[in-house]
Structure formats: C-alpha cells, structure tokens
Amino acid sequence: MVRTQDDVIRSTDLDALSCRVACVSKGYLEDEFLKPIVSGLIKFQPLYSAPNTQFVVTRNLKKQLFQAKLPIISRGSYIRVKSIDCLVDSFLSQHEGTPCQIVSLGSGSETRPFKLLPKYPELNYVEIDFAKSVKVKKYSILADAVLRSRLGVEAAETIPSTYDEFAVASPDLHTENYHLFSLDLRSIDRTCSKQTLEDNGVKFDVPTLILSECVLCYLEPEDSNRVLSFFLREIPDGSVIVYEPMGGEGDDNGKMFGKVMEANLATRNISLPSLFTFGTLARQSSRFERLGIKKVKCLNMETIFDNWISPETMRRISRLELLDETEEWKLLSEHYCLCYCTWGSFAIDKKISM
C-alpha cells in the first residue's frame, strides 16, 4: 500500500484511540463502545493492504493500540476527553427537547454518537473524516450488534472481508439522525458546497455544535479559517469547540516546546501547520474573534485540570497511578488548549464541574 500524506494524518487517530484505550483500562474513563470500535478497526483497517501483508498490519495495529502509556499521557487524555464531554453535555442539556446538532470534524474513532444519540432523540449527529477512516468505522458499526442498535441501523447483508470486497464497498452511512460521511475538510466552501453537506445530512437551521478535537491543527491556517467561516456564515445558531496543541511564541525559549514537538512529529512525517500561527491562548482567541465570533473562551489544559475537576474526582484519579512527572505535566498541559465559542444560543459561561 502506498502511504499518502493523508494516510499519515489519518494514522493520528490511532494515537488518540490508543490513549483512550489506556485510559479505560487504567480506570480513568468508562467507555463501553471502545471495545467494538477497536475490534472493528483491527478487522477492517488491514483490508486496505495486500492480502499477504495483512497479518503484519494487524500485528502492528494491535501493538500500537494496546501500547502502555505513561501516567501524564493518561491524565492528559482523560482531561481532553472529559472536558469536551462536559461541554457537549452542557450544550445538549441546554437544548434538551428541541432539535439540535453536533458536527464532528475529523471524528476518527470517536464514540460519542453511540452514547448520545439514544439519550437525545432530537439530536442530529454528523461525523466527517477521510473516506478510508469513514469506511472502517462504518463496517465496525455494521459488524457489531450493540453499535448498530445504538444508532438504529439494520444488520448488513454482507460485510466485506477481503481486499477486493473492501475496495469497492461504499464508505458512508446514513440513518435519520446519524450521518457518517467522507469528505476532505479542506474542500469545504471550495469543491464541496453547502448543498453537498445538506445532501449528506448536515442541517443549517438548528442550533449546532462543531467539534474539532485535534483536527483543524492538521490544516493550513487558511484552510481551517475557511472551514470555520463557512459554518459561521451558513449556520445562524452555531458554536465551536477546538482542542489542539499550541507551539508558543516569541524567542527560542517561548517556542522551544513547539519546536521540539515539530521536530519529533516530523520523524513521523506529521506536520502541524498552525502550531505557531495559533501558538498561544491570545492567538487562539483572536483567531475566533477575527472571524467575527463574539463569545470566545480559550483555556489551557492545566487550568482546566486544576479548575474543572471536583475534589472527589480529583481524589479518585490521583489514586489510579502515581504521577511522578509534575513539571513535565505542567509543561505539556499548558501547551494544549480548549477553545469554545459561540455565535448562537449556547451559554458558554455555565460553570463546569466534573
């Protein structure tokens, strides 16, 4: 299989997923849908490779997915998932009983729709990712009775099980209120029009929360700005959550963490084009404000960890494992941000406690 640049970017979903796997196995998080998603990935992702190499791919996938993680990585992944969950819950409870929508950009192996759709019948959930990722997720869903039932999907007549069958299978999956479809985000408002999105289940007339959990950071700043401007223009009642790394700014000292991160990720061929453009909380805020969004909040993950977690939860998670890396935790967590902003009805000032 030729590995394209998009494949490299797609592979970052494995990192995110393996962190959640570690969080669940250590007891930081509970996620009953992770297991079927992981088994699906292990089953279908290798079908992109030539039959004689599939077993190697499977072995490597398993190795990566179940790799041990250091305590700071578990803690950081925990706070990432949980803080976004809390904001999503806050949004949904504010719109309970009325139609609303979540559009998850680059959703990868995210499991939120399985949890949320049965709970909020008025919710429309849209997941967008590259075709290859979407196809794996679609068949992971179709192959598992629990995931199917959460979304109300019928069992498929046939499930592809070879390279050839998988190659011709169609990637997208649509139900009445769940839409998993393939799109290169960079094409939004260029080759992909509002109509295309509408045809794929995106609604433009309901309160909408757009999620970007480590996704827009893989786009050039102009591309990510165009994606956000598009939704800002087309959706009257919209809100956005962005979680991503920040490289810092200023002299070498200010940018040191980002520079090292850039160099480290470059060895995997991954680049983060906006790492310095949106490299600080101030730069992040002004990026949203410049697009015309009035209510903007940007916090680093250290602040969130210190302020959003209730004493009980803090006691629980500090007991899970010894964390010897306190200064490193500070350094790492202050270089990640959670920005949430709205040009609609989402009250973002509500105090969050988890």
Binding site: C214, V260, N264, L322, L323, E328
Partner: protein
Amino acid sequence: MPSLSTVLTATRIIQDVKRCIVIPENDVRQLCFLSQELLMQESNIQLIDTPITICGDIHGQLHDLLTLFRIAKDPPETKYLFLGDFVDRGFYSLETFLLLLCYKVRYPDRIFLIRGNHESRQITSVYGFYDECLRKYGNANVWRYCCDVFDYISLGAYIMGASGESGGVFCIHGGLSPAVEKIDEIRLIDRKQEVPHDGSMCDLLWSDPEENIPAWAISPRGAGYLFGYDETKKFLHRNNLSLIARAHQLVMEGYKEVFDHGLVTVWSAPNYCYRCGNVAAVLTLSDDLERTYTVFDSVLQDCNEIPSKKPVADYFI
C-alpha cells in the same frame, strides 16, 4: 583499592557501553555484585570533600551523560556526585546505570551515587527501565540485578567546606522530611530496602521545595511533601548548612536557586524525554564552596548497535 580483575572488567564495560555494545548478562551480574559489595559499606549520608561536581537527574539519556563527562571531564579527573534518577524515561537507562557503576567500582573515591525515587522496583516498572531490560535481553534478570543494587545506594551526602565543620552542603535527591530535623537522624534509617511509600526515607527521595508556602503541604506527586521557605531556613540553621543541593524537578534553565540561595535544584538531562526543550546543568563546588554552574545542551546520536526504539516522544495528537 579495587582488585586487578575488577579494574579490567570495569574498564572493558566502560568501553563497550560507550560504543553501545550490549553488555552480556553475566557481566552485568558480576558488575552489580561488585557494586553492591562496595555500596553496602557506605553510610546513609556520605561525607565528601571539595572540589566536587554535582549532577542532577540523568534518566537514561546516555549520550547526554557522555556529553556531561566530555564537558566536565571524565572521572577520575573530576570528582562527581550524582543525585539519583539514573534510569527511566530515556532509552539507555541500562547503559547509563552500568557506566556509572563501572566508574564507581573503578574509582570508588572519585564518584559518589545517591538514590533517586526512580531507583525503585515499582517506579521502574512504570517508567521504562523494566521494559528496556526486557526488550534488550528478553528477560528481566538484568533489571533484577540492578534493582538489588538500588537498595544499597546511599541516601544523601554532606559536603564539607575547607573550614571544616560549619556551613557545609547537604545533598539529597528530593528534599526535606517533616520527620527529619537533623541530618544525623538520617544515619539511623535502615535504607536497604525498596523505597517505601511514606516515612522519612520516602520523603527524602520524593519531596519538592515550593516558594509559595511557608511550611509543609501535600505533594501533587502522591508521595513526599512540599516544603517552604521557613522550613528550609530552619533546617539550614539547625544543621549549620549553607546550601541544600537537590535534583528531582525539571528546570528549564538547568538549575534554579531559591530561598535566598539556600536551596538549589540541579537538572542534568537536557531536552528531557526528547520533548521538553530544556538545557541541563551541573554544579561545581570549589574548596571554599563557591558555586559554578556549567550549562549544556542535548545531542542526538543514534546508537545503532543496541536494539532500541527510536526516541519518539508521546503527544496528544
């Protein structure tokens, strides 16, 4: 005086480690045994005289340790005190520890080691040293030999100034303990054990200074305490000290003095975990205890002969 065979073994291993050749299991066992014999005789608090070069955490960053020795001169030319945390996190914990042990058995009066909180079975099973040994040897024997040595490493050091008794320097990996008022009390600890989860031995290896509190506070690390200005001043006064030199915490500038220059943190692992972008430092104390800091940066070399994973640091991506 080390015996001729000890000298020969140590010299050979030093060369092989520097060339990144895997040290046979049997040699590791022998070296660990020799080291144990030697360390066993040292007291909990070693008395060392000046001049001395004090180094903080190394964390398996072998190439950076070699840089340190290049800049500050190999033992025996320079006399060294290492403040613990030789292993974990970096990809060459074993080689790092073996190199230090070789120097120790070869020049026992020119290099001193004290124990860090990572020199423990429990911590090394989480932070990489155990996995590294397993990866390199296919079994955990080498890890076990090393852990047995950990139990014998002394806890701290006292550096006398030229003027003799007063104004010396207390060296420890972590910091103070509410259970220890006088340095002499540390001498009574039975140190030959796995690092306990609480009590004075644990605190000495785990505690951190904190500028914003006066006395004691709970540590976010889950072991040891945070200690403030007042407690530090009292300890210095009570023990007639001019300085506490410790390691344990990453410092972006390599070293940091706090509490009116009464305490210094020395950190000797540059670009820690291949991710942090910090510089490293060592502290040299002259005969009249004058402090000189030498700052150095990281090198990234490939050590091809040792099967090891590439230094790819983890991020949230």
